[in-house]
Symmetry: C3
Subunit: 191 residues, 3 copies
């Protein structure tokens, strides 16, 4: 169908055009719009999970993407201050904190732990190949605008307070807000 001036001047075409615009609007209203944004649910606390989390977060932030990382379950222990040792208000919470020494620096590997030799080996290889370590990547990501957010429910369960966690984090949120974060993110990952 050629686009002639005759055709476009025809009121029939205009009715058609209006209807097509309305259809486009209806479909756009219904569809979830995705922003240039990445949201990670950082569930794992192991070094081999915190590493990809922080590599992806810092790389995405560097490329200009909006980034939010929601630290929950074992992942929460990766944002405990390195100098904080035993946390929690009762013996169960204290026991959990002993089993999960805080901070990414002390994170274990999910395999090949070898009493700490595995993580050391990985970090030595990283040094030799100029790959930044998770704690540095987290700071880089944060400096570039990535939002690091603790999970309120896990904090309650584990008895962790705001003071136990790294400085510069966002206010804690719950699952509903984390879901809202993911809904408009172009990329959502559970790591």
């Amino acid at each position: 169908m050629a686009l002639t001036e005759d055709r476009v001047a025809d009121p029939g075409t205009l009715v058609d055009l209006l209807q097509r615009v309305e259809a486009l609007e209806a479909q756009q209203d219904k569809a979830i719009q995705k922003k240039n944004k990445m949201t990670i649910i950082a569930w794992g606390g192991d070094l081999d999970r915190i590493w990809p989390t922080t590599i992806l977060a810092s790389t995405a932030a560097a490329s200009g993407m909006e980034v939010s990382v929601f630290f929950t379950f074992w992942g929460l222990f990766a944002i405990v201050k390195p100098e904080v040792r035993i946390t929690g208000a009762n013996w169960m919470q204290k026991a959990m904190s002993v089993m999960n020494p805080g901070s990414a620096q002390k994170a274990k590997l999910s395999r090949y732990q070898f009493a700490g030799a595995g993580p050391l080996m990985m970090k030595k290889l990283a040094d030799e190949h100029h790959v930044e370590k998770p704690e540095a990547l987290m700071e880089i990501a944060s400096d570039m605008g990535a939002r690091l957010i603790p999970c309120q429910m896990t904090m309650d369960l584990m008895g962790l307070t705001r003071d136990d966690l790294l400085d510069g984090l966002e206010e804690p949120i719950g699952a509903a807000t984390a879901i809202a974060e993911m809904r408009d993110a172009a990329i959502s990952l559970f790591i």
Copy 2:
């Protein structure tokens, strides 16, 4: 460029408008439209994976999102009826079922199992902080319209029948249908 009545009455503008609507339509047709929907591939059967799965599913359903959860691999054992013990038709399937006691209630932690003390401790902490347990969350999610769907292939592999699984589940599906579920979901997670 000011929107004057002169400009819009010009047939040139109308041709332009028609072309722009056609371009919008073409791009909208090509793009995958995302619905207000969350799809989870529930691959893990451990308590610390089933918990986030059911927290996210019930919270999303409560917020009015469409939710589908596809239980596959180890995750399938989380939707076996609690009273069902050994399942399967041959010794290998029976062995698998012994190693994976059915239902979310009996799920282990991926770490800190301590002969069952770890999961008990987690559940006690949850009780104290009024956090619902996975089996309750699954029911809540289902009541609010979340669709819980078993993986046909895993059922075949593990020798699980429809009777071994919880009531109220959807009909089993395969990978192709699970992919179709994720394709129009605003959030897809592998947990």
Copy 3:
């Protein structure tokens, strides 16, 4: 509001229409357009992770979706050639390769290893139920156009060369390119 010829002939309507088209264009420009595409970050090297990765990749490719799989961390060992044994340039890299025997064929289960009996049992069950094994699924996926891509950084860390990896892979990429792959994919999963 009825669509009468009177209304559409009215220059006021045309101004309105032009503004609505501009609004649609602005929103479409801002939103990330999702293609009919699935991108998997294949992080895990265990049989029970490589299996869902290759099932999803081959099924999606068969349904006409664009597919890219980014093999990183432990996942990289799943695309080492089966005949390649010890890899790496120094003792740490060699030790890593011994702990991660290359190829999907040699992948372990994340649980129930039983000195190899677990994976064997799973594969025997798969044979009986005509489920293809990961190495076959990877070939099927690749034949159907799925792009299998190694992570450059992990290759450097682990001392793996292009020759250690399967034939038919894409050129290695880094995190920034992997993020770009996910950004326009309708489905992105971290497995």
